[in-house]
């Protein structure tokens, strides 16, 4: 009977997921990832669907309270109107926020975006799990009932208890006789993959743009991590020169200076050659920039991409944020390549609301 709430709960989850599409967009754009300080946990609000009712707005609303403070002292964030009802039940204060693991969040994100699961190719090292029916057990759903075994057992029992009449061979299984198929999770090693994130941290990128890039990179990172076990990541930041950094630095650095995109591509290429030979690794590279590049450098970049990087990577994603200072030309230059090659995606991210769509463009290719 415990399934009763289970059904209502499932229904709620489904609604939330169907509904979250719009809400999640807002949610991601709020940049709440900054609140993520600990290793694995992030504080997010409980999913809730508020049924609309005639309610009072904030303006002009008032109430009575208790405590210290002079007239005029602010009380902190607006307090929700206390809609008290509910059978004299007394949950000790309402919970507003709860921690959710990143894995859970990424799973929700994947479902909301309707992203295809990226299928890892061949090779070893990445672990994936699969269900396999291996045995039987006493309890389970009727759809998994093992017909033959169940009746065999029923027959055995009836013979043993001398209720079996060979003249009227009727076998009626009772609850104890029933056998159900059961499964085991089988872990299977699969392919290896690396994700290389590159970010333009030059002076033309304002704080807001860096913020957008960080949020997007963070979510892609989270999502890919959730779907592959044992994945590697490399982070590159560049202005006029590129350097390899760790995750923390990648998300927190603020540099300034000119822009030479080729520097990052060269470094990425070097990295791939040295550490991740493409015949053994699946390589995903993402590059974020405002599209403002040193004039002479563009041709060099395109050559690098076309001849060195693209043949080696599974997917190259280029995300361009809109900048007041930058010309945003690089996106245009890339269009030619995008038309030619399959494994390059370019996407524009004009503002925070566009992040969700952009992630979808990147990962939607399913490579």
């Amino acid at each position: 009977m415990g399934q009763k709430i289970e059904r209502d709960h499932q229904r709620f989850r489904k609604l939330v997921r169907g509904k979250v599409k719009s809400n999640l967009g807002k949610y991601i754009s709020r940049g709440e990832m900054i609140g993520q300080k600990g290793k694995e946990l992030i504080s997010i609000p409980l999913p809730q669907i508020e049924i609309p009712q005639f309610r009072f707005g904030d303006k002009g609303s008032s109430g009575a309270g208790q405590g210290d403070g002079d007239v005029g002292t602010p009380l902190g964030p607006p307090q929700p109107g206390d809609g008290s009802s509910g059978a004299g039940s007394e949950p000790g204060g309402h919970i507003l926020e709860v921690e959710l693991s990143l894995e859970e969040l990424a799973a929700i994100l994947g479902e909301e975006l309707a992203l295809p699961r990226i299928e890892p190719r061949g090779k070893k090292n990445i672990i994936s799990t699969k269900d396999r029916y291996t045995g039987v057990r006493q309890a389970g759903p009727e759809s998994l009932r093992h017909f033959k075994r169940t009746f065999k057992r029923a027959l055995k029992r009836q013979i043993a208890s001398q209720t079996y009449d060979p003249l009227r061979p009727m076998v009626v299984p009772i609850r104890e006789d029933k056998q159900y198929r059961s499964w085991k999770e089988v872990r299977k090693p699969e392919s290896v993959a690396v994700v290389i994130y590159m970010m333009d941290v030059s002076g033309s990128m304002t704080d807001e743009q860096k913020e957008i890039v960080r949020i997007e990179a963070f979510w892609i990172d989270t999502w890919i991590k959730a779907h592959y076990k044992g994945i590697e990541a490399a982070y590159i930041i560049h202005d006029a020169a590129a350097q390899l950094v760790d995750e923390h630095t990648f998300y927190h650095t603020r540099e300034s200076g000119g822009t030479k995109i080729s520097s990052a591509y060269e470094l990425a290429d070097k990295l791939i050659t040295a550490r991740y030979p493409p015949d053994q690794w699946n390589i995903y590279a993402f590059h974020f920039s405002d599209g403002d590049n040193w004039g002479d450098d563009v041709q060099h970049c395109l050559e690098l991409l076309n001849q060195k990087l693209l043949p080696k990577v599974n997917l190259f994603g280029y995300g361009q944020v809109e900048s007041r200072y930058g010309s945003g030309e690089f996106y245009e230059y890339l269009q030619e390549l995008v038309a030619q090659k399959e494994n390059i995606v370019a996407s524009r991210i004009p503002d925070r609301d566009a992040i969700l769509g952009s992630i979808k463009e990147f990962l939607g290719k399913g490579r």
């Binding site: 009977m1 415990g2 009763k4 709430i5 059904r7 209502d8 709960h9 499932q10 229904r11 709620f12 989850r13 609604l15 409980l46 999913p47 809730q48 669907i49 049924i51 609309p52 009712q53 005639f54 309610r55 009072f56 707005g57 904030d58 303006k59 002009g60 609303s61 008032s62 109430g63 009575a64 309270g65 208790q66 405590g67 210290d68 403070g69 007239v71 005029g72 002292t73 602010p74 009380l75 902190g76 964030p77 607006p78 307090q79 109107g81 206390d82 809609g83 008290s84 009802s85 509910g86 059978a87 004299g88 039940s89 007394e90 949950p91 000790g92 204060g93 309402h94 919970i95 709860v98």
Partner: protein
């Protein structure tokens, strides 16, 4: 009750129950038989999510509360100590893993609630067989789900829930009008007694002067107009029970009508618990505290008891805690009636010293609070017994929303202001007052509601969605008269489009009203 859970009361708890029940009765508490059921946390969360009724109809919103309760419990943020159901017999749930002392405290608290349910006037109308009725509601709704499909029924229930607060909580006590029947077609009598005109007695030759024809004619017309008006007004008087009006007059399918009345019944059943939150919790807390400290506590349990009791009474931030406010106010009343600090003589006394030392040795306190628990709800309770001294002692203040700062600030510490704000926040559960004004608006069967504006605007986004839900149920366009930014405004939804019209005095909707009823 046929419950799927393992709810056996272990012998130690049964002994405790008998002990506490004995104490409660010895104080004069009067309650229905109370059945305690012991549940594991998970099951308790489930029951709580259903508002205490495990047999309730299925709906995702219960799943939502379940998730909240479960996450709150799993992450150690909150815990349900107890839950009581207003029913005969009363059902109370205990959490299996609670400490014995907690169980004792909870039991004492529960008997307070049970006594309140049975004796408070505002609960008098509630069904005491709600456990069974809820189960009936559940099976009816499940039947509709099987017949009409889950999505259809759910969508309709969602809409009903959106308007389930549009009820008249006092309807159970005051008969505002006769039950209307949809099959009531009594013909109107032409020769109405009331149409007889005022004629003064006069000699025949003076008649034209004493009862001038012009005046008679004018009066006749006036009467007619009044009568027309009465016939035209539908409903006759503004109707607070929007839900009932819709149930009676909207073109609903039978199953929809039934679902709507289920929602209304349950809303009416739960309403008194909202009306008496402060008094009810105060009463129960008063009794758990009295019973435990005077009789129930073992010396070794005192520290833990004090810890848990103060946890319940704590105020979080500036929020008023109904437990705290209720128990303190009840204690204040008991003290005042014990010492005689009430009545004209005391009120007229200006000398602070005398007032403070006032003691007439009346000893009427206990008797008084029993009376309070019988006849008061939160509003009358606060209105009658909140005193300036009490407000000062408990550091009460009133707060208001400051637009520039975008947050609430302490507005005043004056008694009148505090009381006014507090009462206002309790009025109609702190929700806007909405009436049906016209069920045949524009003579096109449209529904006109009026929001009794009292200084606070509605949240427009939600109002629009709610209106849309109401429109679906009513199936003709619906309108809501309200005030937005100090301008009278008519919000409308006609099934596809929201309009938002500022009303000038000139086109008062009443004036171009229809001439016929439907």
């Amino acid at each position: 009750m046929n419950t799927p859970y393992n709810t056996d009361l272990p012998p130690d708890l049964r002994a405790l129950k008998e002990e506490i029940e004995g104490y409660a009765r010895s104080y004069g508490l009067d309650f229905y038989e109370t059945i305690f059921e012991v549940l594991d946390a998970e099951d308790l969360n489930e029951v709580a999510a259903y508002g205490g009724f495990p047999t309730r109809y299925p709906h995702w919103s219960f799943g939502m509360s379940f998730e909240q309760l479960k996450k709150g419990y799993d992450y150690g943020l909150s815990k349900i100590y107890e839950m009581v159901i207003n029913n005969d017999p009363c059902y109370a749930y205990l959490m299996r893993c609670n400490h014995t002392l907690d169980q004792k405290l909870v039991m004492a608290h529960v008997y307070g609630h049970c006594d309140f349910f049975k004796n408070n006037a505002y609960f008098a109308h509630t069904s005491r067989k709600m456990m069974d009725e809820m189960a009936n509601h559940g099976s009816r709704l499940r039947r509709y789900v099987e017949k009409q499909g889950e999505d259809e029924v759910e969508a309709f229930v969602d809409r009903c829930m959106s308007i389930d607060d549009l009820i008249d909580v006092h309807a159970c006590a005051i008969r505002r009008r006769d039950d209307s029947s949809r099959y009531d077609f009594a013909p109107e009598s032409e020769e109405d007694e009331s149409l007889k005109l005022t004629r003064f007695k006069s000699k025949a030759y003076m008649n034209d002067y004493i009862n001038p024809r012009g005046a008679l004619k004018a009066e006749e017309e006036e009467r007619k107009k009044l009568k027309d008006q009465a016939a035209r007004n539908f409903p006759e008087r503004p109707e607070k029970d929007v839900l009932l009006f819709v149930i009676e007059h909207a073109p609903l399918k039978p199953w929809q009508r039934d679902v709507l009345s289920i929602i209304r019944d349950e809303a009416l059943y739960f309403a008194p618990q909202g009306q008496t939150k402060i008094l009810n919790e105060g009463w129960a807390s008063y009794w758990h505290s009295t019973i435990m400290t005077q009789k129930g506590l073992h010396p070794s349990e005192v520290i833990d008891y004090a810890d848990h009791h103060s946890g319940t009474m704590a105020t979080h931030g500036a929020r008023l805690n109904p437990y705290k406010l209720g128990i303190e106010l009840l204690r204040d009343i008991e003290h005042r009636w014990n010492t005689g600090k009430f009545g004209k003589e005391y009120d007229d006394c200006d000398d602070l010293q005398t007032r403070r030392k006032w003691d007439r040795q009346l000893g009427l306190g206990r008797q008084k609070i029993f009376e309070v628990r019988r006849i008061h709800n939160d509003i009358t309770f606060i209105d009658t017994f909140l005193t300036p001294e009490f407000c000062v002692e408990h550091k009460m203040f009133s707060y208001a929303f400051q637009e520039q700062m975008g947050q609430y600030v302490i507005e005043s510490r004056e008694f009148e202001k505090i009381k006014q704000r507090l009462l206002y926040s309790l009025t109609n559960f702190g929700k806007p007052l909405i009436y049906v004004v016209d069920g045949n608006y524009h003579n096109r069967g449209e529904l006109l509601l009026r929001h009794e504006h009292s200084g606070v605007d509605l949240r427009l986004d939600q109002a629009a969605d709610t209106l849309a839900n109401l429109q679906f149920v009513w199936s003709r366009p619906v309108h809501l008269q309200t005030v937005v930014d100090e301008k009278p405004t008519l919000l409308s939804f006609d099934g596809s489009e929201h309009t938002n019209k500022t009303l000038g005095e000139a086109d008062d909707p009443k004036r171009n009203g229809p001439a016929k009823t439907r």
